[in-house]
C-alpha cells in the first residue's frame, strides 16, 4: 500500500437535504444560534452518519479488527448551506497505513452542479489488540 493510500469505494453520489427541524436540533445541541434558513457549519456530519456510509465504515473496521476514532474533521464552503435545498453529496475515500486511517473526502454540489462545500473526515483505525484493557496501568 502506498503512503497516499488505496482508494475505497463508497458508492455513487447521493442526494441530501437539510431538514429544518434537524438543523434546529443540531444547532441547539451544539450551542449555535440559527438565522433564517441557514444551517450549522457542521451539519454535514449528519449526512456522514447515514446508514450507507456508516455500514461501509463498519465493514472496513471489521476487516481491520479495529475501532474507528475520530481524528480530525474539516468543513470548507464556497457557498452558503440552505435548508430545503437538495444537494448532491459525493464521497471518495482512501485507506492509509502507518498509521492506519480511513480518510473520507465528501464534496457537496448544488442542483446546478456548482461547488458548495467539501468535508474531510479522518478516522484513525485503532486495532482492538492495541486497546488498553481495564486494569492496565
Amino acid at each position: 500500500m502506498s503512503s497516499e493510500g488505496v482508494a475505497v469505494d463508497f458508492g455513487p453520489p447521493m442526494e441530501v437535504m437539510i431538514d429544518a427541524g434537524l438543523a434546529e436540533n443540531f444547532a441547539r445541541e451544539t450551542g449555535v444560534a440559527l438565522e433564517g434558513d441557514a444551517a450549522p457549519i457542521a451539519y454535514p456530519a449528519v449526512w456522514l452518519a447515514q446508514p450507507r456510509l456508516r455500514d461501509r465504515i463498519a465493514q472496513i473496521c471489521a476487516e481491520a479488527d479495529a475501532l474507528p476514532v475520530h481524528e480530525s474533521q474539516r468543513f470548507a464552503y464556497a457557498a452558503p448551506l440552505r435548508q430545503g435545498v437538495c444537494y448532491r453529496l459525493a464521497v471518495t475515500a482512501r485507506r492509509e497505513v502507518e498509521p492506519s486511517r480511513l480518510v473520507l473526502d465528501a464534496t457537496l454540489t448544488d442542483p446546478e452542479g456548482a461547488a458548495v462545500g467539501r468535508v474531510e473526515t479522518v478516522l484513525r483505525l485503532v486495532s482492538r489488540a492495541d486497546l488498553p484493557k481495564k486494569g492496565d496501568a
Partner: protein, 142 residues
C-alpha cells in the same frame, strides 16, 4: 469583499466561551440528532473497558460549538471553513473552554483564526482553525 466591514487585528483574542459540563442525557441527545450513536460515547462499561473514566463527549459536538464562539465574537463575518484535530477527549461531566486568536487578516484571504478547546487536562482537547470572510452568514459563506 465588503468594504464596510473592518477586519480584526492580527493577535486579537476572541472572548472565551465555556461549554458543558455535558451529562449522559446531553450526549444521548447529540447522538440522536447527529446519528453518531457510537456506544463509546454512551456506554459507561465500554468507556471503562478502553481506559476512560467516563464516556468521552463526541468530538464533533465540541468542534461544532466553535461556530457559537465565532458568531458571538463577530456576527458580521461569515465562516468559510472550520476544521480541527481531536487531540484528547473531554469526558462526560467535564467542562470545556473554547478560545481563539486571529493569526492573519487580509481583504484577499479573509480572517484566519487559531482555535482551541481545553478540557481539564493540560493539553488541548481540540486544535482547530477557521477562516472567516466579511458578509453575514448566508451572503458569502454558509
Amino acid at each position: 469583499m465588503n468594504e464596510a466591514t473592518a477586519l480584526p487585528q492580527v493577535g486579537e483574542r476572541l472572548p472565551p466561551l465555556e461549554i458543558g459540563p455535558f451529562d449522559a442525557l446531553a450526549l444521548a441527545r447529540y447522538a440522536e440528532v447527529s446519528g453518531d450513536d457510537n456506544p463509546l460515547h454512551l456506554d459507561d462499561a465500554l468507556a471503562l473497558s478502553v481506559g476512560f473514566t467516563a464516556p468521552p463527549v463526541h468530538g464533533m459536538k465540541l468542534l461544532a460549538a466553535f461556530e457559537a464562539l465565532l458568531k458571538s465574537w463577530r456576527s458580521d463575518l461569515a465562516i468559510a471553513s472550520l476544521g480541527g484535530t481531536f487531540v484528547q477527549p473531554v469526558l462526560r461531566g467535564e467542562k470545556a473552554t473554547l478560545t481563539g486568536r486571529v493569526l492573519r487578516a487580509s481583504e484577499a484571504d479573509g480572517v484566519f483564526v487559531r482555535l482551541y478547546a481545553h478540557g481539564p487536562g493540560r493539553a488541548p482537547a481540540i486544535i482547530a482553525d477557521a477562516t472567516l470572510r466579511p458578509g453575514r452568514p448566508g451572503s458569502e459563506g454558509p
